[in-house]
Every structure is written in structure tokens, then in C-alpha cells.
């Protein structure tokens, strides 16, 4: 019997952050993101938001992930990497690096879809006794700065996007409305904080009417913008005086939009378990709404730890782990895909 542990190195470089992680038999060993203190050790600066920066980040980040996991490169069974979707220049760095390292170590490489990885982050185990995992089929609400999707998950390898945004993502609605209120960018966390002190029913904003399980947030952004413009004409201190109520009302509206389609999808698919993923799942209002929904409808809810909500390589490694078990490997002539079929 093969008792060798399966050690997967995951590499994520689809957008802003370079990240590397190590997962052994499904259990997390390390998860390093470039914006952390890795650079201090190497004496470099952290360039923000530049795909060419991945080239500077990738060696220290991978090196740190392997060392922190207590391994040497020779211990790695396979390398999982984000093939897409994302920014082509950024994906190229991760893909090329993976090819070189896999070739040097003579181990397989495994391509991963970034969005599927967000969903499978729920299967990362903290330790051997961690059994808190969803059972199939379940529905995952994937909400971030770039995505707002409802995913029907039938197995580790069989997922379907049944609803998606037709314009802006939910996280973008938070961020852009925050910008209008001069709360900075990204402003999602600031809105969440101020919303706790405000009256969520103080103001009403338009909600979209679109078919199926799809989302739209562009209209809300415009309606919020014009509402503020009109009120500012009457009172130039309107935003300052009503900041908390504005944030609370806006957050309530975004959450209601998210939950209404999610509820519809849960009912029509008949799933018993639900999950949330992506950066917006850190929003406390959304977490509360999901918890209340799960309690009321007797569904089991899975909320990921904060470190697995934003872009990270642990989710790439766990997805790679399941593909490794199926021997679903990639060949060395593989190219990254800015658009990648789900």
C-alpha cells in the first residue's frame, strides 16, 4: 500500500497577489500571500497591483510556503497552479514558474480554475480531526470584488454556475458606493463597520428586476449616486450627517439582492447544504443574513475562515489535491486562459 503522503504545492497569480500554499493529504501546512511580510525577509519592496510584480514575488513566496510547511522541494508530489480566469500577464508568471519547477523536480502539474477553487476552499482541513465539510450537492454563493455567482456543486469535479452578475459584482457595488461617500477604496469593510451603527431602514434604494438566478448591481450604484446628489443639493453635509444610516441601508439592500436570488436557487435546486465564498463573505451583515436563513430553513451553512475568502493558494492546492487523486494532470504545453470555461 502506498503510504506516502500527497504533498501539493499550490500557486495562485491570477490578479493582484502572488500566493503559494502547501497542503498534505488535504490538510493545510502553509498559506503565504505576497502582501504579507515575506518581502521584509528578502529586503524587497512590495509593488502593488502590477502583474509584472508576480515575477518578483513568486520565488520568495513559494520558498517561504515550502519552508513554513517544514518541507524541501523534494517532498512535493505535484504542483497545482491557477490556469485562469484572470489577467493573462499575471497567469503567465504562475504557469511558467510551475512548468519550470515541475520539470526540474520531475513531478506532475495540475491546472486549476480559480473560481472552482474558491468553492473547494471549504474542503481544506485545519488538522486530521477536521470533518467540517459540505456534502454534495450544495449551493455556493461566490461573492467578491470581481464575482457574484451562484454555483451548484455536485462533486469535487462537477460544478455549474446557475446565476451570475450581468454587470457589476457585489463587492464592486460596496466599493464604488463607498468611494462616492468618500470612504476610500476598497470600501466594503468600512461600510460594514459603519453599518453596525446605522438604521438599515432609513433609506430605500432601487432593486434590480432581472430573470433567473442572475444578479445586477449597476442600477443600485447609479440609484445610490443620484440619491446622494439630490440630497446634497438640499444639504451639503448630508453624507457626513447620515453616513451610518446610508451604509446600513446600502448594505441591507445589497444583502437583500444577494439573498433573494440565493433563496430562489436553494428552493429550485432543493439542496440541503449551503456555502458562501469570496471576499464579500467577510461582510458581517451577509454572514448574519446567511446564518438566519440557514436556521429558518434548516439548512447546513458553511462559512470559510477569513484567510480563504480572498485570493489565496490554499484553495488552489486543495483543488489540485482532488485532481491529483483522480490523476487529472496537465501537460507541459499548457497555456493560461484569461477566460476559462467553468
Amino acid at each position: 500500500m502506498d503510504t506516502q503522503p500527497v504533498v501539493i504545492l499550490g500557486i495562485e497569480s491570477s490578479c493582484d497577489d502572488t500566493s503559494a500554499a502547501v497542503i498534505t493529504n488535504g490538510i493545510i501546512r502553509s498559506n503565504i500571500v505576497s502582501s504579507q511580510s515575506v518581502h521584509e525577509k528578502y529586503g524587497g519592496v512590495v509593488p502593488e497591483l502590477a502583474s509584472r510584480a508576480h515575477q518578483q514575488n513568486i520565488v520568495p513566496v513559494v520558498d517561504t510556503a515550502i519552508k513554513e510547511a517544514g518541507y524541501t522541494p523534494a517532498d512535493i508530489s505535484a504542483i497545482a497552479f491557477t490556469r485562469g480566469p484572470g489577467l493573462l500577464g499575471s497567469l503567465l508568471v504562475g504557469t511558467s514558474f510551475t512548468k519550470g519547477m515541475a520539470m526540474a523536480l520531475n513531478i506532475p502539474m495540475v491546472e486549476v480554475n480559480h473560481l472552482q477553487a474558491h468553492v473547494l476552499a471549504h474542503f481544506i482541513k485545519d488538522d486530521e480531526n477536521d470533518t467540517n465539510q459540505p456534502t454534495f450537492p450544495f449551493l455556493c454563493l461566490l461573492v467578491s470584488g470581481g464575482h457574484s455567482q451562484i454555483v451548484l456543486v455536485r462533486s469535487h469535479s462537477d460544478m455549474e454556475i446557475i446565476g451570475t452578475t450581468i454587470d457589476d459584482a457585489a463587492g464592486e457595488a460596496f466599493d464604488k458606493c463607498a468611494k462616492v461617500m468618500d470612504l476610500g477604496y476598497p470600501g466594503g469593510p468600512v461600510i460594514d463597520k459603519l453599518a453596525k451603527e446605522g438604521n438599515a431602514d432609513a433609506f430605500q434604494f432601487n432593486k434590480p428586476r432581472i430573470e433567473g438566478f442572475n444578479y445586477s448591481f449597476s442600477g443600485l450604484k447609479t440609484s445610490f449616486l443620484y440619491f446622494l446628489r439630490d440630497r446634497m443639493k438640499e444639504n451639503s453635509n448630508f453624507i457626513e450627517e447620515n453616513k451610518e444610516d446610508l451604509c446600513a441601508s446600502l448594505q441591507r439592500t445589497i444583502i437583500e439582492i444577494l439573498m433573494s436570488k440565493f433563496n430562489k436557487a436553494v428552493k429550485e435546486t432543493g439542496v440541503e447544504e449551503i456555502a458562501v465564498a469570496g471576499g464579500v463573505s467577510a461582510n458581517s451583515g451577509l454572514r448574519t443574513a446567511l446564518e438566519q436563513y440557514a436556521a429558518k430553513h434548516k439548512k447546513k451553512l458553511f462559512v470559510p475562515p477569513f484567510g480563504y475568502t480572498t485570493d489565496n493558494a490554499a484553495m488552489i492546492a486543495i483543488t489540485g489535491y482532488f485532481k491529483y487523486l483522480r490523476k487529472d494532470f496537465s501537460s507541459h504545453d499548457i497555456a493560461p486562459l484569461a477566460r476559462m470555461p467553468f
Binding site: 490578479c15 509593488p47 502593488e48 497591483l49 502590477a50 502583474s51 509584472r52 510584480a53 480566469p85 484572470g86 489577467l87 493573462l88 500577464g89 467578491s144 470584488g145 470581481g146 451570475t164 452578475t165 450581468i166 454587470d167 457589476d168 459584482a169 463587492g171 464592486e172 466599493d175 464604488k176 468611494k179 462616492v180 477604496y185 449597476s218 450604484k221 447609479t222 449616486l225 443620484y226 484569461a338 477566460r339
Partner: protein, 140 residues
């Protein structure tokens, strides 16, 4: 070219006219304040170009790529969250602009000097809650 649209439904015919009179340039820069309808107009333009997949805001992703058939690509940029021109350079702006494929760019003012002068400028001015003035000028 100049158009006055009174509501969002009229954008489809504007987009069709823009595509029919496509002009000599492959870089189209879309100016207009937040909520003016830059992404919405680009959605209609992509539809007129034959793009069948979902056209959504690239604010977070920075660049969305669409397939317009017959080996033609459409690159949809959004510089909104960029801090300076270096970042526009580092995401590969010049490679995309030189590709010969159509580049539709939101918030071009963030990196104007990186973009070719030989471009189409599209300026959307808000004149009412749903009324917009759309001015299109091709550099010559």
C-alpha cells in the same frame, strides 16, 4: 458623431451606429463620470460586434477578454482602481493596444499618456437621470 439618448433602451442603436462607422482606430477610450453608463454602452457595443458571452464590469479584473468570432478579440479595460500610469503599463496595456484587436477602455484618464493619440474618444455626459449626451471623435 453625436447622439442624445433619453433612456438605456436607445443605447443599442447608438452602439450599432458606432460599430457600423467603426473608424480607423482600434483603441476606444470611454470618458464619463461614475454611473454615466460606460460599461452599459460597452455591453451594447460588444453585442453589436457579435460577442455572445457575458460582458461585465472589469473594475476588479482590470481586463476582460471577449471573443467576437472570426479570430477577433475584444479587450475591455477598466483603469478605475489603478493608482498611477506604471500600473497601467504593468498590466500589459501596450501589448494589448499593439495587438490590433479592439481595446475598449474605461477611465482612460488614469493613463492617458500611455494610450496612442490615434484613438476614438467617446465622451458620455449625464444630462438627467436617464438622459445622456454621447460624443464620439476619431483622431485624424
Amino acid at each position: 458623431m453625436q447622439f442624445t439618448v433619453h433612456n438605456v433602451d436607445e443605447l443599442e442603436s447608438v452602439a450599432k451606429k458606432m460599430v457600423e462607422n467603426t473608424g480607423p482606430h482600434t483603441v476606444w477610450a470611454f470618458y464619463g463620470e461614475m454611473g454615466a453608463g460606460k460599461t452599459t454602452l460597452i455591453q451594447r457595443i460588444c453585442k453589436a460586434l457579435g460577442v455572445t458571452q457575458q460582458v461585465s464590469s472589469p473594475t476588479f479584473n482590470l481586463i476582460n477578454e471577449y471573443d467576437a468570432g472570426a479570430h477577433k478579440m475584444v479587450y475591455h479595460f477598466d483603469y478605475y482602481r489603478l493608482n498611477d500610469i506604471d500600473e497601467a503599463f504593468n498590466i500589459g496595456t501596450l501589448e494589448y493596444v499593439d495587438s490590433g484587436h479592439l481595446c475598449l477602455i474605461e477611465w482612460p484618464e488614469k493613463a492617458e499618456s500611455l494610450l496612442p493619440e490615434n484613438r476614438r474618444n467617446v465622451t458620455i455626459t449625464v444630462e438627467g437621470d436617464t438622459k445622456r449626451q454621447i460624443k464620439i471623435s476619431d483622431y485624424d
